[in-house]
């Protein structure tokens, strides 16, 4: 098992740190992007504490989004999310990447979609030039839906 502990201040992960521009950074949203079924999804990186190899007890993202389960051979990873302990374990499909979205890429959901979607965690969309829009998910809505979700004991001890 490997663990990546992610820092709290995401702008520091900017590869162009030497030319760090606070104003420019305010226009960026750092996200952790992953796959859920055929959909590309992203959550705000500041809420992600760590990235694990897949942990069986974690909650598959497909179940939360009402999608068919991932095929058994799929490469899976677990995101530990949430500011409080115990963190919430969310299982997602690879590739899992950290990236910045510029504010011009972000779009609110159209009114009819907001009204009718059954996925309350769906917060917005990020435009991709050549692909389907990325689904921006609200981690609070994702984690609050399942108050009884118990973390595996060994995960509770992981410190960011």
């Amino acid at each position: 098992m490997w663990i990546v502990c992610l820092p709290k201040t995401w702008p520091r992960l900017n590869p162009h740190m030497d030319a760090y521009d606070e104003h420019q950074d305010a226009l960026l949203l750092w996200v952790v992007r992953f796959q859920a079924g055929t959909f590309s999804c992203a959550v705000e990186a500041c809420h992600v504490k760590a990235l694990h190899t897949s942990i069986p007890e974690s909650q598959p993202i497909e179940a939360l989004l009402g999608l068919p389960p991932a095929p058994s051979g799929a490469c899976r990873r677990t995101l530990l999310i949430g500011q409080n302990t115990p963190p919430y374990a969310l299982e997602v499909s690879e590739p899992v990447i950290l990236e910045s979205l510029c504010v011009q890429q972000l779009r609110p959901l159209p009114a009819l979609i907001t009204r009718h979607t059954q996925i309350r965690a769906l917060q917005g969309l990020a435009l991709d030039e050549s692909a389907a829009p990325c689904l921006l998910l609200d981690l609070q809505a994702l984690t609050l839906h399942d108050a009884t979700h118990d973390m595996p004991p060994h995960l509770n001890q992981i410190k960011p």
């Binding site: 009819l112 009204r115 309350r120 689904l135 609050l144 839906h145």
Partner: protein, 177 residues
């Protein structure tokens, strides 16, 4: 002997004849006429901003069948409402002539999928009659009137009422996260 009228005289006579016609410009409205199967409908042209032929619709999870997904219109994300599904027409493969009408209501904007766009035309306002009492129940709240076009009866619908009706539809009781 009677002479043949000269060309100038003939043209002048013709001009005089035209001048005698009373010019009655009746107010007209621009309509976008479209079909769902064999049923003819129309929206006011001022409410339809674009007719999109080849937009890729991106499906979003968790939406009802009447919401096909979203389209990217030059960087703006718009929903796509499928009238066939909304009004209970049997599902069929999407016809080649299918189009998305980009409709602008007072408050919201959305694409509306139709089977075919027949025409964008000007209709004399007076030719639009009051909606019939026998209109199908699902159309009654949306109907502004009816008019004839050749042998067809066209139902004129209100985009704002269509959107308002969809926004007012109760949310499902058991939502996912």
């Amino acid at each position: 002997m009677e002479t043949t009228p000269r060309l100038n005289e003939m043209l002048a006579a013709h001009h005089q004849g035209r001048a005698d016609v009373v010019n009655v410009d009746l107010p007209t409205v621009k309509l976008v006429i479209f079909l769902l199967e064999d049923d003819w409908f129309a929206f006011y042209g001022e409410q339809i901003k674009e007719i999109l032929a080849h937009s890729t619709v991106f499906f979003l999870p968790g939406c009802p069948p009447s919401l096909e997904g979203v389209i990217n219109v030059r960087g703006d994300i718009e929903s796509v409402l499928n009238l066939r599904s909304l009004w209970g027409y049997p599902p069929t493969p999407q016809p080649k002539a299918s189009r998305i009408l980009l409709a602008q209501g007072e408050q919201i904007r959305s694409g509306i999928r139709v089977d075919r766009v027949e025409e964008v035309t000007d209709i004399i306002e007076n030719s639009i009659q009051a909606p019939p009492h026998a209109a199908p129940e699902h159309l009654r709240p949306l109907l502004l009137g009816q008019f004839s076009m050749g042998s067809q009866v066209v139902s004129l619908l209100d985009v704002d009422r269509l959107f308002a009706q969809n926004l007012a539809t109760p949310e499902p009781a058991h939502g996912r996260v």
